[in-house]
């Protein structure tokens, strides 16, 4: 009952935003709420089911974004001709070096093994760079203002949601293999570092994603507002509804996305709830609540942790691909750990860790507050400083930076919830 009321209130808040601000604005919030909810769900799978403290959410979301580029962007045949073979060769060379290192570690022993490994790492690095550098230079020289990268497959962007999940899962597997044996603090710092590395790679490997030059030529599958305005059936519907076709087309496009995102969220929710109620879910909670006891019962804790880490990250990757789809562009420079990692954590904690419905509600609520706070921050500041001299530099300075009050607000919300209601809005049963 309480849950229905909470979700009802959330819906009312969105409707109010539509009624008093504007409907396109409210729908944009709704779409991002849905994406945030998916991300929070992924984090909740890791934190709520298994107690894994992952602070690398940003990296997995960005991997989802890469998938959108690689699936949807138009291929650049000239770039492939110029450097495709070189990139392929350097990949093969890298694999060969890794194989060599594995061989050395297997066949040799003692001091010799150590020195041989170091020599192979250093020699292999320069050998790979020897092939890789010219190929990259060749690709990036192809019309750098427009392309300068390999491009994608030119497939419908909706496929990228699954591919994004797969990318993030693959990344999480590698990360988990290295870092999951560590205790919580190290894992947190390790994931924080890995997400920064992923962003650094995306910003600088221009041949893959154009780096900070951004990919803004993604083509979504849903019709654009312009196309709708030219379509007879849509004009018919608009006249029947007695609506302005231009405004209606913008809203219609956003509604398309909202429906698609809601479907994804519903599907993932169904899986997550089923998993939680299954024997697997009970095992996960047993591991989380008493790791040693579960291990003594013969559960392979490390393995289960890796599994949960991969699944949760895949969900975050799907959300990342959805986000890039909606923006219709990929901008590596816009990934910021405050917005993409720590804000998601606030959502999970506020919503109720361990409860899937809680994290969905948290995703909606916190995103709503995050956006509205940016709008209301300056208004509040205007009131607070209204007693001051309008010309005073302090007042103008405060008004200019008032939008950043929302960071303060998020911290305060997180601290208050942790202190007074640590189980969140919808506690775990």
């Amino acid at each position: 009952m309480r849950n229905i009321i909470l979700f009802g209130l959330m819906g009312l808040a969105l409707v109010a935003a539509g009624e008093f601000q504007s409907w396109p604005f409210a729908l944009t919030i709704l779409n991002l709420c849905l994406i945030s909810a998916v991300m929070a769900l992924g984090v909740n799978i890791q934190w709520g089911y298994a107690g894994i403290f992952n602070v690398g959410i940003m990296g997995f979301a960005a991997l989802g974004g890469v998938a959108a580029v690689l699936v949807n962007a138009a291929p650049v045949p000239e770039a492939w001709a110029a450097g495709g073979a070189g990139i392929g060769a350097s990949l093969l060379a890298a694999l060969a070096v890794i194989g060599l290192i594995v061989l050395i570690r297997k066949k040799l022993s003692g001091q010799l093994r150590r020195y041989a490994t170091i020599a192979a790492v250093i020699g292999g690095y320069f050998a790979v760079r020897e092939v890789y550098d010219p190929a990259v230079a060749a690709i990036e020289a192809i019309d750098p203002a427009k392309t300068g990268y390999l491009g994608g497959l030119g497939l419908p962007i909706i496929f990228s949601w699954a591919v994004g999940g797969a990318f993030a899962a693959g990344g999480a597997w590698v990360v988990g293999k290295v870092a999951l044996g560590l205790r919580s603090d190290y894992l947190a710092i390790a994931t924080l570092g890995i997400s920064e590395i992923i962003i650094a790679v995306l910003k600088n490997e221009d041949w893959l994603t154009r780096g900070v030059k951004n990919v803004s030529t993604l083509k979504p599958d849903v019709p654009t507002a312009i196309e709708l305005q030219g379509a007879d059936w849509f004009l018919g519907v608009a006249t029947w509804l007695d609506a302005d076709p231009v405004a209606a087309s913008g809203i219609a496009v956003k509604l398309f996305y909202a429906v698609l995102f809601a479907l994804v969220l519903a599907g993932l929710m169904w899986f997550a709830e089923r998993a939680l109620k299954s024997p697997w879910g009970r095992m996960m909670r047993a591991i989380r609540d008493n790791r040693d006891a579960a291990e003594a019962m013969g559960k392979n804790v490390t393995r289960r942790h890796l599994q949960t880490f991969v699944i949760g990250s895949a969900v975050v990757g799907i959300a990342g691909a959805m986000l890039t789809t909606m923006d219709a562009q990929f901008t590596p420079g816009s990934y910021n750990p405050l917005r993409f990692t720590f804000l998601i954590w606030v959502m999970v904690i506020v919503g109720g860790s361990g409860n899937n419905w809680g994290s969905v509600l948290g995703g909606f609520l916190i995103w709503f507050v995050w956006i509205e706070a940016e709008r209301f921050g300056p208004i509040v500041m205007e009131l607070v400083t209204s007693g001051m001299d309008p010309e005073s530099p302090l007042r103008t300075n405060l008004l200019d930076s008032a939008a950043h009050l929302r960071l303060f607000l998020m911290g305060a919300i997180l601290l208050l919830v942790l202190r007074f209601s640590p189980r969140g809005l919808i506690p775990e049963k």
């Binding site: 107690g51 390790a190 910021n336 950043h404 303060f408 911290g411 942790l418």
Partner: protein, 337 residues
């Protein structure tokens, strides 16, 4: 011979001098993180923003001094303003401890909860800094800019390569040496310092011997906030002040603390320099350096750069992973988390 000297000068100018300054800044930051970890037993995610907060207070005080016409002659005015920044940051840190962390200590919460709370504090401090001083870049270094300019060095020695030494770099190293020496003296010799080490080593035993935990925690926060303010101000003087950069400093600082051995102050200092020199050394283009020490007249075609400078933060993290795999307690045998 001149070639060798030239190569050395080149390396000093671009790797060793900046590395020493950056390493000192990281060491001061890592000392704060390690101290909080060993006394309060959690990784403080708010430390980078504490540095930003302290630096911000110092900048505001610097502007105030400048408007009154007070200056430190050839030294930056910020050094005079530093005590004000330290007092303000210490008060803020004590207030957060009173309002946030003390409750979790009392209920003996898991350290992950404390870590989460520090994320909340991080958001709050980040918001305050951006509202008060804005998200933009601030430069506040004044006074003499250089101790030795590259041109003067060249004229003095007759070498082709010069070494320039900025005032801020020298100040950073000198201040760091003084602060670290004081801190070690305090921890080794003073009564309170010994009590802190005992508390860090074995909490129950320390309590049994009549050590007052509240006092230990209080002193830990005072020292950590002081170190953070000094580190933040020195970093801002040396480069420039921008709130987001300080947030990003968190990663190399954590890496330094862990690489050295978390909970071990000596390790934090060593870790700071290991991280700083690896970042500088791996992202430096050795083309001209090899030109000097290699065979006569031969210069490599490429830049001979191991990684591009954009991967600076990635380097600190890769070192972290290597240390975790080979020697999880860090170089100086700290605690295992």
């Amino acid at each position: 011979m001149t070639d060798l000297l030239n190569a050395l000068a080149l390396l000093s100018n671009f790797v060793i001098v900046p590395g020493l300054a950056y390493g000192s800044q990281l060491a001061l930051g890592a000392l704060g993180v390690t101290l909080i970890y060993s006394i309060l037993r959690f990784s403080n995610f708010a430390h980078g923003d504490t540095m930003a907060f302290g630096a911000m207070l110092t900048i505001l005080a610097t502007w105030w001094f400048q408007s009154m016409g007070i200056s430190a002659g050839p030294l930056p005015t910020a050094l005079l303003a530093l005590p004000i920044g330290i007092v303000g940051t210490v008060l803020f840190a004590l207030a957060t401890d009173r309002m946030v962390y003390r409750y979790y200590r009392k209920i003996k919460a898991a350290n992950i909860v404390l870590m989460m709370a520090s994320v909340g504090v991080m958001f709050v401090m980040n918001g305050i800094v951006r509202v008060v001083i804005g998200p933009g870049e601030q430069r506040f270094a004044d006074g003499e800019r250089f101790i030795i300019r590259a041109r003067e060095f060249k004229e003095m020695t007759g070498l082709a390569e010069g070494i320039s030494l900025r005032t801020t770099q020298a100040i950073t190293v000198v201040v760091a040496v003084i602060v670290v020496a004081l801190l070690f003296w305090f921890l080794q010799k003073s009564r309170t310092g010994k009590a802190m080490r005992a508390y860090a080593d074995n909490e129950d035993l320390a309590l049994l011997s009549g050590i007052n935990p509240d006092k230990v925690v209080l002193v830990a926060w005072i020292i950590a906030a002081t170190l953070a303010t000094i580190a933040g101000t020195l970093y801002g003087l040396d480069k420039s002040f921008k709130p987001f950069t300080y947030f990003q400093l968190l990663l190399p600082i954590f890496a330094a603390a862990i690489v050295g051995g978390i909970g071990n102050p000596l390790g934090a200092v060593a870790g700071g320099f290991v991280i700083a020199f690896s970042e500088m050394g791996i992202t430096y283009a050795y083309k001209r350096f090899i030109g000097y020490i290699g065979p006569d007249g031969w210069v490599p075609d490429g830049l001979v750069q191991l990684l591009s400078t954009d991967y600076k933060f990635a380097v600190s993290f890769m070192i972290l992973v290597l240390v975790l795999l080979w020697r999880p307690t860090g170089i100086f045998r700290g605690k295992v988390l």
